[in-house]
């Protein structure tokens, strides 16, 4: 199922500068897998080798924060990739 993924600026080197891309999947894991196929390397910068979301990154499906990659994604949803960092 197609959904929209909004890409945070630190990751746009993987999307040729695009702030929004289309991906497919019924879970966040599948959406990120689809995204990785289109943009190789992007997943590991967001998700570690134990399938955990990295500490300074937050993922939302529409307006709900997803803390696990098992989160459901429906046709037409928007996945937001948000970077959260403080300090200099």
């Amino acid at each position: 199922m197609p959904c929209t993924v909004r890409i945070a600026s630190p990751l746009r080197s993987y999307t040729a500068g695009a702030g929004t891309v289309t991906a497919r999947g019924r879970t966040l894991a599948e959406v990120l897998g689809s995204l990785e196929e289109r943009c190789p390397g992007i997943r590991f910068r967001m998700i570690d080798e134990q399938d955990r979301i990295r500490p300074h990154l937050r993922l939302f499906v529409n307006s709900s924060e997803a803390r696990e990659l098992t989160a459901k994604v429906a046709d037409g949803d928007t996945v937001h990739v948000v970077c959260a960092l403080s300090g200099g």
């Binding site: 945070a8 630190p10 990751l11 190789p40 390397g41 590991f44 910068r45 967001m46 998700i47 570690d48 080798e49 134990q50 399938d51 955990r52 990295r54 300074h56 990154l57 970077c83 959260a84 960092l85 300090g87």
Partner: protein, 369 residues
């Protein structure tokens, strides 16, 4: 021969290119602005190739590769990562790729990477795809060897490949100690006898030490030097007991520091840059007066080299990857500071001048031919 220095900083990658006399230096960069660059290493077997250990504040760690002497960079297809943990097993994730070493000259394309938390990784295709070295990462003693994490996690660094034997490796873990493998990383044994660990209740432990930097002379591979949290040491193999050569340093200066660098052709000459390890460990220049110390006799004696360096109120730190030499017969010595300055000597440390200011905090300075 023109020289290039690659400077990895907390905010990006810079380069300095010299004229033939090493008098004028031209600053290049930043490249990868905003990226945290822990290490930059040229492939001595194929000088057009360089590898970067890189991450950003938000994103996970990775390795980048250049095949055009640093003009452009591409990310590794499979960066260093621990294997997926099974049920009930410790689920480790690489937080930073901290160290890179090119492999043996007979193994074109082989590289090693060290990480935090302590992990060892190998690539056999020039840094494109990385695999965990199971002999260390899954060693039954690894949880004990790397058990005393510093606040940023323990670091695996100083990956040394014996130039006579690609199977013979050394690694260092801060905190954990020095370890040796004679079978290309399949098995490891601690190599810390004689090193102090005065922060532990039992100073005679076989591991748990804090080596800050270990170097092996390419022309005398049985000669190792170590700048440790607890002193400066030398080990001549096949011996197994480190000798504390830092005892010959002036008592008021002590022998604590991060970097230790080799003369390219004289195994008895080594430079260190002491930092303040008194009381609460400020880890700055001692009394605000930075100085490099040189031994020309393998640590029997040391000489202060501070001509041209600030005489007072200079409170920087020089990290373990942030000091290097070039390959001239009278070698240049270079160090980068946490205050973003690059200091250079083209006469073996006898006199110094600041060749760049106002860079971000410097993590790594390496020479490229």
């Amino acid at each position: 021969m023109a020289d290039t220095l690659w400077i990895g900083t907390r905010k990006g990658l810079f380069s300095l290119r010299s004229d033939r006399a090493r008098r004028r230096w031209k600053l290049g960069g930043p490249q990868l602005l905003g990226h945290i660059i822990h290490h930059v290493v040229q492939d001595s077997r194929e000088p057009r190739v360089l590898l970067l250990a890189v991450r950003t504040g938000h994103l996970g760690p990775t390795v980048m590769r250049s095949v055009d002497r640093g003009r452009s960079w591409c990310e590794a297809a499979a960066p260093p990562a621990f294997r997926k943990a099974g049920a009930g097993a410790e689920a480790r994730a690489v937080q930073r790729v901290f160290w890179l070493s090119a492999g043996h000259r007979s193994e074109s394309g082989t590289w090693y990477a060290g990480s935090s938390p302590a992990g060892l990784f190998r690539s056999t295709d020039g840094g494109e795809r990385w695999e965990p070295v199971a002999g260390f990462n899954d060693h039954p003693m690894r949880p004990q060897w790397a058990a005393q994490a510093t606040p940023d996690g323990e670091f695996l660094h100083s990956i040394l490949i014996d130039p006579r034997d690609p199977q013979h490796l050394y690694i260092a873990i801060s905190i954990g100690g020095v370890f040796e493998s004679t079978d290309a990383g399949a098995n490891w044994t601690p190599l810390n006898e004689g090193c102090a660990a005065d922060f532990l209740p039992d100073p005679a432990v076989p591991f748990g030490h804090d080596p800050h930097c270990v170097v092996q002379h390419p022309l005398m591979p049985d000669r190792l030097y170590q700048q440790n949290h607890c002193g400066i040491y030398r080990l001549d193999r096949p011996g197994r007991r480190w000798q504390r050569i830092g005892k010959a340093m002036p008592r008021k200066v002590g022998d604590v520091g991060f970097p230790i660098v080799l003369h390219p052709t004289d195994p008895d000459r080594v430079w260190v840059l002491p930092m303040d390890g008194r009381t609460v460990w400020p880890r700055t220049s001692i009394d605000g007066r930075p100085a490099v110390y040189l031994t020309a006799d393998a640590g029997e004696s040391w000489r202060r080299l501070d001509r041209g360096l600030p005489r007072s109120q200079a409170w920087f730190t020089v990290l373990r990857q942030a000091m290097c030499t070039d390959r001239h017969s009278r070698p240049g010595v270079y160090f980068g500071t946490t205050a973003g300055e690059l200091w250079a000597s083209t006469n073996g440390g006898e006199s110094w001048r600041c060749i760049v200011r106002h860079l971000p905090e410097i993590y790594s300075v390496t020479h490229a031919a």
